[in-house]
Symmetry: D2
Subunit: 145 residues, 4 copies
């Protein structure tokens, strides 16, 4: 993982990127942490993000996984990347005050990074429960194609 790349994506930079994504603004996502090979994204569980049984909609968890994976990859690859795909396993219904998606880089080259992400549902008393887990990849956008 290139340190240069990591320097290219500071927490401040990454927060600006997040703020420039209208969908992330709509969901109220915030980057809680960002470091080499790691990103933590939090989403308050307001009523608009739930499904019919009062838990976080699966699509909100999928958004959280997708975006946390991409920011973690960005710390290894720099900001000009595209997420190529992900697998998401749902483990249990996600309730509580907010979601916390913790993504880490498992393996990175100059061009590609494989990341994993755990999504926790955080309760009012700060206890957290793993409710989904993902694995996904991002790669540098190839402008020469």
């Amino acid at each position: 993982m290139s340190e240069d790349a990591a320097e290219n994506l500071t927490l401040d930079d990454a927060r600006k990127v997040l703020a420039s994504q209208p969908f992330s603004v709509l969901l109220g996502a915030r980057l809680a942490e960002l470091g080499p090979g790691r990103a933590v994204l939090e989403i308050p569980l307001v009523p608009e993000l739930l499904q019919q049984f009062g838990f976080a909609h699966g699509g909100v968890l999928a958004y959280a996984a997708d975006n946390a994976l991409t920011f973690a990859a960005g710390t290894a690859l720099g900001p000009s990347i595209v997420t190529t795909g992900m697998t998401l396993d749902y483990l249990r219904p996600a309730g509580g005050t907010h979601l916390r998606a913790v993504a880490t880089v498992v393996s990175g080259s100059r061009r590609q990074a494989l990341c994993r992400c755990e999504i926790y549902a955080v309760a009012e008393d700060s206890t957290q429960q793993l409710c989904a887990a993902a694995q996904g990849s991002a790669r540098v956008i190839d402008l020469t194609r």
Copy 2:
């Protein structure tokens, strides 16, 4: 695939389920079609659903895949189901007027269904381009556990 189950989830029923999901309402999703082993979900690409480059956010595509897969599975399994997981491959940036997620059941038993989904970006002139493809599963909620 049980016909009884399919009868348990008519298009009208499914639209009521969708309308009871606050997150689906927030995203403006509508069920365009529903039949045995098949569901088509559409999402208008309003500015709030985009990322920083003006295309649909990956999280919107992930929501579309997750929900279309679940409704297709519901036509085979009935409404008391849970999505267990999915894989989503992003193929190209999704622009245009709306997304169209077409999900079909590949294999179903009484308890579980495997589905696939293609997500198309539809342009103003109605041409559509495949921009993501997913594979995922749902199973009947087991109340006896």
Copy 3:
């Protein structure tokens, strides 16, 4: 999908590639069909390929999916490719005389192809049953990296 690429990988060529893979020879795999965007790989279910209950081992199905996907992608991308990953869902135990893995290209660019694969267990009377389904990608090896 480039026709040039498809011409680059004829059934004869592909069979030579398969014959040059010691692991494919060990498993007795044969390419039954190859055409633009499509490959069919067959594996006789000899006792050595089974698990403890007398069905095909999951690893044999995973091999079949991996290799069928790669040959289907090869018809679109040419022979210098690498499989980047796949998802495999097991649907039911696979018995019978042989496995038949049918892979098709869902979306291809000059550099990358997304494929899907269905694996059937074929019985002595030629009836076949879907026992696993996969989705996976391959891309052209980038020699300039």
Copy 4:
């Protein structure tokens, strides 16, 4: 994760299960470690397991992931389980003397377990390099269906 279940699958028991799988015997797989929520499977890279460029065939890595995930899940769920699916990302060509697949349980209930697996290529000097990563699930066989 039930301790009873873990006690139900000791390393000795698991080695007997492995020895009863003809395909695992064909591949020369051995269980190097087994403990609560964890299994390590090793496969010597003999010539029969390679592809045309002299590296481990992708199907061998897929076998290793599938079986290591299942044994790790077995420590949580007991021996009567079935693998429901997995995702495998290939990271780099796998050479060396043997493969080492390390699988761990990420989340387990009484009925289902989600596992992850890293596959390392181990060189003659014992250095190891991550060459693939997987995520997959297993669940208890439901005899009441």
